[in-house]
């Protein structure tokens, strides 16, 4: 919340100081995803995108637990249909632009449709289904299942994403996994060892009422959001306040009460670009706050305990001329997911669990350059994720440098090549009589040691 207030203040001050007349458009994901064009929206626009992908993980294949490509976690290299989404959006009645709708379903193979060894497999999964009412000036209302307002990397229309994989901080800290009790063995922890909360009984913590991993966050929630956008003096300001179940794509009883989501962005508009690629300098801040019910005992009785799950972040993105420069900083308190790297693309049988009251933070810096008069765009990103910084035995650090190139076949199709140099390590705790290493800790160390570079190729076609 502190960061949120700081950025909001900075945005307000900057707005007061600057500003110029402009007819440019903002890259406003609240509006682009939640509303339709007044008087110019179709009754039903069918749209979607496909992302066939090939990935090869060069991690040590001879290690006991090599990293594998998800969601099935069976091979270190494979072709996959990372995303295949088809949807319909528009207005219920062409004469009345005040009521909009948005529906999107996932037909591809990723954690949304395939829990791998941890969860269930579904051929199709609804990812968005919402109605927006635009009757109250300054307070549009969106209801249903949709993306929660949050970090730009996750909040943006994913087909405009300049990379193939998310940063570790977004992937591990923001995309919530409702871990189940299966395949989770934390090992024995000596009495009094509080560094591995939730593992004291021999099994990892599971979400209350969770028989198997039956939901995935996907940066979405079912709830209601009040939001709007205001243009003033060459700036576009927007806000969103949302309340949701805190249960990702599905309804369920994993959350205690409702999650609240706050979002603010201010964008200085710059002439040039269109739609998601409009030029501008955007600053934003957001926070997510909720509570989760967790069962800490390995028996048939639900002994739910409640833990906070709080997230917050600030960031900025500039797009102008041929350049794109972006950066975000995010923090997390509670329910820190413990997957070795890409949890559903992680290390075979390593348990998936949660650091219940741990803390994490991370950031990324991103630069893109569109080579003039060509179809080539060059990308480079550096991201850091400091996981479970308050529990020594779980503390891990992930550093990744991703270089990429995009070849834009046309405005609706592109090829992307990424090479990620990954360095992951854990603190090296010393086993003593009073604080012996747990199986979990040993597995974490062994797993992280094996992580090496990854190469990915992807085609994106939007229709």
């Amino acid at each position: 919340m502190k960061n949120f207030k700081k950025v909001a203040l900075a945005a307000t001050i900057t707005t007061m100081l600057g500003g110029f007349a402009s007819t440019a458009n903002a890259v406003n994901w609240l509006m682009l995803q939640g509303t339709e064009k007044d008087g110019a929206a179709p009754r039903a626009k069918v749209w979607g995108f496909l992302q066939p992908t090939y990935q090869k993980d060069t991690s040590d294949s001879t290690a006991a637990e090599p990293t594998r490509i998800g969601p099935n976690l069976e091979k270190q290299s494979q072709f996959q249909l990372q995303r295949a989404r088809i949807g319909v959006r528009g207005i219920a009645m062409p004469l009345d632009s005040t009521i909009n709708y948005f529906v999107l379903a996932e037909f591809g193979q990723n954690a949304i449709t395939d829990g791998g060894i941890y969860g269930e497999k579904q051929a199709v999964k609804l990812t968005d289904a919402s109605v927006t009412l635009n009757h109250i000036p300054g307070a549009r209302i969106r209801m249903g299942l949709f993306k929660t307002p949050g970090p730009e990397e996750v909040f943006q229309g994913i087909f405009t994403f300049d990379y193939i994989n998310f940063t570790d901080v977004s992937n591990q800290m923001m995309l919530e996994r409702f871990t189940a009790g299966v395949n989770q063995t934390c090992g024995t922890v000596a009495a009094g060892n509080t560094d591995t909360p939730g593992c004291a009984s021999g099994n990892g913590p599971i979400f209350a009422n969770e028989a198997s991993w039956d939901s995935f966050g996907a940066a979405r929630d079912i709830g209601i959001q009040v939001f709007d956008s205001f243009k003033s003096g060459g700036w576009d300001h927007s806000y969103a306040v949302m309340i949701g179940n805190g249960n990702g794509l599905d309804t369920g009883g994993h959350a205690d009460g409702e999650d609240t989501y706050l979002y603010w962005s201010s964008e200085m508009l710059i002439a040039g670009g269109k739609g998601p690629w409009a030029h501008g300098l955007k600053m934003f801040a957001w926070s997510h706050n909720g509570k989760r019910k967790v069962d800490l005992t390995d028996d048939d009785t639900v002994n739910a305990e409640v833990y906070d799950r709080n997230r917050a972040g600030v960031g900025a993105r500039y797009r102008g001329g041929n350049w794109r420069i972006a950066g975000e900083y995010m923090t997390g308190e509670g329910m820190i997911f413990q997957g070795p790297e890409k949890p559903n693309m992680g290390i075979g049988a390593l348990p998936q669990t949660q650091d219940l009251d741990g803390e994490s933070d991370g950031y990324y810096l991103d630069v893109g350059y569109y080579i003039p008069n060509t179809k080539w765009e060059l990308d480079a990103r550096y991201d850091v994720y400091n996981r479970s910084t308050t529990h020594d035995l779980l503390t891990a650090e992930f550093n990744t440098i991703t270089v990429g190139v995009q070849y834009h076949l046309n405005r609706k199709a592109k090829l992307t090549l990424n090479y990620a140099t990954r360095d992951a390590k854990a603190l090296d705790p010393i086993s003593t009589a009073s604080t012996p290493l747990t199986n979990m800790t040993t597995a974490l160390h062994n797993g992280l040691k094996g992580i090496e570079d990854r190469i990915s190729v992807q085609a994106t076609i939007v229709f």
Partner: protein, 148 residues
């Protein structure tokens, strides 16, 4: 006699000059190199963009003072002239360049029955009795009908 005739013509010309001048101004559009009526009656939102693009391109080609453009909207195409239409900025810009926007009264009335109230129209729009009749009248006056 000859000098009297010359004086009479000169006097007549002097008296008529203000009238001739105002007539020329009033008939400025009718003296345009091109007169075009653009029809929009399609529900497809892309057609809204297209018809505005065509009007803009005509002005660029002929020059603002040498082309007379009227956009007639009726049927589902009347949405272009709704007050909150996303293209209202472009409509204002084209109107300031001399483009006339005509809204069909019949369509407005029928849409009002569906909505329960008349749709609010763009302030730049001029209501005409029937869009199709307006087009026929303009064609009779020498306008070229284009339906992008």
């Amino acid at each position: 006699m000859k000098s009297n005739l010359i004086k009479a013509f000169a006097l007549l010309a002097l008296l008529a000059s203000p009238f001739i001048g105002s007539q020329a101004i009033a008939a400025g559009k009718s003296l345009a190199d091109a007169k075009i009526v653009l029809q929009i009656s399609d529900p497809n939102p892309f057609k809204q963009t297209l018809v505005l693009n065509v009007a803009n391109n005509l002005i660029k080609h002929y020059g603002q003072d040498s082309v007379d453009i009227e956009i007639v909207a009726f049927g589902p195409g009347l949405r272009l002239l709704f007050a909150e239409n996303v293209n209202k900025g472009r409509i204002a810009s084209l109107a300031s360049s001399g483009v006339t926007f005509s809204a069909c009264a019949n369509t407005t009335r029928n849409m009002g029955k569906i909505l329960g109230h008349p749709p609010a129209l763009n302030s730049k729009a001029v209501t005409v009795g029937a869009g199709i009749v307006r087009i026929i009248d303009l064609v009779k006056k020498g306008y070229t009908l284009v339906k992008p």
